[in-house]
Amino acid sequence: MTITAILFIIIGLGLISWVLGRIRASRFLVADRGTMNSLPSYHGWYTALWAIIPALLFITVWSSVAPSLGTFAVLEDPAAAKLPMDGFQRSAILSEARTLARNPDAQAFNPLARELAPVYAAADQRYAWIGALAAVLLCFAGAAYAFLRIKPDFRARTRVERVVMMTLLLASLIAIVATLGIVASLIFESIRFFSYVSPLEFLFGTQWNPRDTIPAEGSSGFGAIPLFWGTVFIGAIIAMIVAIPFGLMSAVYLTQYASANVRRWMKPILEVLAGVPTVVYGYFAALTVAPALREFAVAIGISSASSESALAAGLVMGIMIIPFVSSMADDSIAAVPNAMRDGSLAMGATKSETIKQVLIPAALPGVVGGVLLAVSRAIGETMIVVMAAGLAANLTANPFESVTTVTTQIVQLLTGDTDFNSPMTLAAFALGLTLFIVTLLLNLVALSIVKRYREAYD
């Protein structure tokens, strides 16, 4: 009896009870000439919910209890007397037997496990049947209870709607659960990391050279300053040097100069830039932009130019960010009251003077907020830097050299086998926590700037 089969049976029974409940309610409806409290279909739903929900809850509980019941059954078995008393070996053999019971082709290193496997399989089977039987009985009992409660004055709708409201509330709580999950997993693993490496050394150390074992003296190799610098250099400096002028000027041109027709076509085209997957940008940066930049650098006499340069990653990332800056600037320019613009134009200022001296200063908080959001987006961006920025943890301000970023190193540390006891794996979580906090702060600051400024004109 697999879980899927039981689920199908329960859903089938739920359907049947829906139909039965509805039929019974319709009889009352005919007999009472429409004085019923709820429509027949609500009675149907009420019956179906009573059939399905208790059974589903039971299965959830049972499937977490059944494995340990199975283990108890095996321990009762005479063959289990041969198990070693040592707790670790004992559980190793038991878990091996369990794998064997589920998949007879599996490898077994312990002869005892092979002996215990059939016992396990039998116990598992028995408890699966008991569970299935109980679930179906519960299903029938629930349906019968609800079925018998159907009366003309029974308030089925209120009860069904209460379940609907509970479902809605549960759905919206998932967002909180997800946030808590993120925070908890990051903090939990980071604390374990900080038991190997002190937080001060992680945040202020300048040597990044992660290894599985931490040397007793000298640098631990987990100093993240070069990573932070690389992230800021690519995401907040180079990318913004590209994105701010292009994004701002595009927004100004499209809102102030372009005809409606041009705007209708150009706005979606710019937005396509934000819709291209980042792996495509990364491939483009690595395949086309980086080699071209390297040749250029060598041609102007920078012989140290690397084929994985900060400039290539930053340029392409800046282009990806243009639409974000542009749409934020667009919004904040549109929010400036027309009276200010008209006043400036009426004084004889040209359009560009109005934009430079009236519109942009008035829209500045919004623009700054938008830029901060763009920075938070850029430093969390992964694929472009993984593919184009390289892995060398250099502390350099030369854009033609290779630098590495927080996100690149997270990917690097977690590729391959992840052992949750190795400081390398845990370091990725500490980096993730840092990234999470920084992006969160940037977003909060950006939103509060935007909000305060909005209030000034409303």
């Binding site: 919206s172 710019l270 819709g275 997957p277 792996v279 560009s352 992964t382 990917v411």
Partner: protein, 426 residues
């Protein structure tokens, strides 16, 4: 400044001479500045779109070749090579044993060496013999005849045929052209195959299927939860601290970098819940958490756009608050919700980083069969191919990018169509 000081000295303000030379110059300068500013704006827009065009141009230029493959003619004399295997043995239950005893691989290399000299074997793709085998399995009667088959060329010859190969490969290719033994045809294997080591043989179907399964999991989880949460927040939620907390969490989730979701998936789904690594199920769960806030935000806007008069009318004729929403508000908001969902799904389809974290970079030569099989997805496949040293993978990577972009374009076009077709202006 001196002008101003002078004018202040006079009791009678001097009339500005607008037509004077100084003024004209000044106006000309201001107009020139205006022109320059305008051109800068135009330049920014043109440069941005030119970059997009350049990116697409590079991808198309590199990738179109990936949809074609070079094939070389090879003559087989099966009766002589096999010593007269009868077609009947290649059918039915004993077929596998018969193929094994025939040793198609060596028949293939002998035929290649007979026809193209001692290096002939190297002209063909590593796994070209499997095509001979499947051709025989499809049509066993062939084993009693002399036949001519077109088989895929090796990656080096393929690159040479597309005009970018090494000297040696170019020479081989020229030789083959002279013998009139080479042609290019549409590479159906690229659309139906899976990952592999030989760029001439790889295909994207495995990754595409992984993407499709992952997207289904994402949609099934994120859509109902997102819509229900949006309904709750927009229609029923009381104004209190809990509601604020939910809203903050949703807005925060929407802004979290995608790689953080990968860390969450790794710690919670793989480490804590012990779900299988590299599985489409885990990928779908992770992407669902990422997509849900997008759907919630879009659905809230769509629900907000339904005018209150609809709700009041429904309440007025006696509908309960739940009936008002599920019978009236939601049906009217569905087009907007669909648009937002498709855009969220398109974003999830292009996502790479979180899936790398949970190990969806499995090298599998067969497409995944279920939710828990090791799988990879299209963007991750692109990433993996881009790391390959073999030059033949360049065009395959770009071709896979073209396929991915086509999917995204279709989804976005669908979203725009839905918005224009069903959006009601109240």
């Amino acid at each position: 400044m001196t002008d101003m000081a002078a004018s202040l000295d006079q009791t009678q303000p001097r009339k500005t001479d607008w037509r004077g030379e100084a003024m004209q110059k000044r106006i000309a300068r201001r107009y020139a500045a205006e022109q320059r500013f305008r051109l800068m704006g135009l330049g920014a827009v043109i440069m941005s779109s030119a970059f997009l065009a350049f990116l697409l141009f590079v991808m198309l230029g590199n990738g179109l070749g990936g949809f074609q493959r070079t094939e070389i003619r090879l003559d087989f004399d099966f009766p002589a090579a096999t010593g007269g295997v009868s077609p009947a043995t290649l059918e039915g239950p004993g077929a596998n044993a018969a193929f094994a005893s025939m040793d198609v691989a060596s028949i293939f290399s002998i035929a290649a060496e007979l026809q193209y000299g001692s290096e002939g074997d190297a002209y063909f793709s590593e796994n070209a013999w499997t095509e001979v085998r499947s051709a025989l399995a499809d049509n066993p009667a062939m084993v009693g005849e002399k036949v001519q088959l077109w088989l895929p060329a090796s990656s080096a010859i393929d690159i040479a045929a597309k005009g970018d190969g090494s000297k040696a490969a170019e020479a081989d290719y020229a030789k083959l052209v002279q013998m009139d033994a080479v042609k290019t045809s549409f590479n159906t294997g690229f659309l139906t195959g899976s990952d592999g080591t030989d760029p001439a043989q790889v295909g994207i179907w495995g990754a595409l299927k992984g993407s499709i399964i992952t997207m289904i999991v994402t949609l099934v989880l994120a859509f109902p939860v997102g819509v229900l949460a949006a309904v709750y927040l927009e229609e029923y939620a009381p104004r209190n601290r809990w509601t604020d907390l939910i809203e903050v969490s949703i807005n925060n989730l929407a802004a979290v970098p995608s790689i953080i979701f990968g860390l969450l998936g790794l710690a919670v789904f793989l480490q804590w819940m012990a779900l299988p690594r590299s599985a489409a199920l885990v990928g779908g769960l992770t992407l669902a958490l990422m997509t849900m806030p997008v759907i919630v935000i879009a659905a809230r806007n769509a629900i907000k756009a339904v005018p209150p008069s609809i709700r009041e009318a429904a309440l007025g004729v006696g509908a309960s608050p739940v009936q008002v929403v599920f019978h009236h508000v939601l049906p009217l908001a569905i087009p907007g919700i669909m648009t937002g969902t498709i855009i969220g799904m398109a974003r999830a389809l292009g996502e790479t980083a979180p899936l790398l974290m949970i190990g969806m970079r499995a090298f599998t030569t067969t497409p995944p069969q279920g939710l828990t099989d090791p799988a990879t997805v299209l963007p991750v496949q692109i990433f993996l191919w881009s790391d390959e040293v073999n030059r033949g993978f360049v065009e395959k990577t770009s071709a896979a990018i073209i396929v991915l972009l086509l999917f995204l374009l279709t989804m976005n076009a669908l979203a725009v169509y839905l918005r224009n077709r069903f959006e009601t202006r109240w």
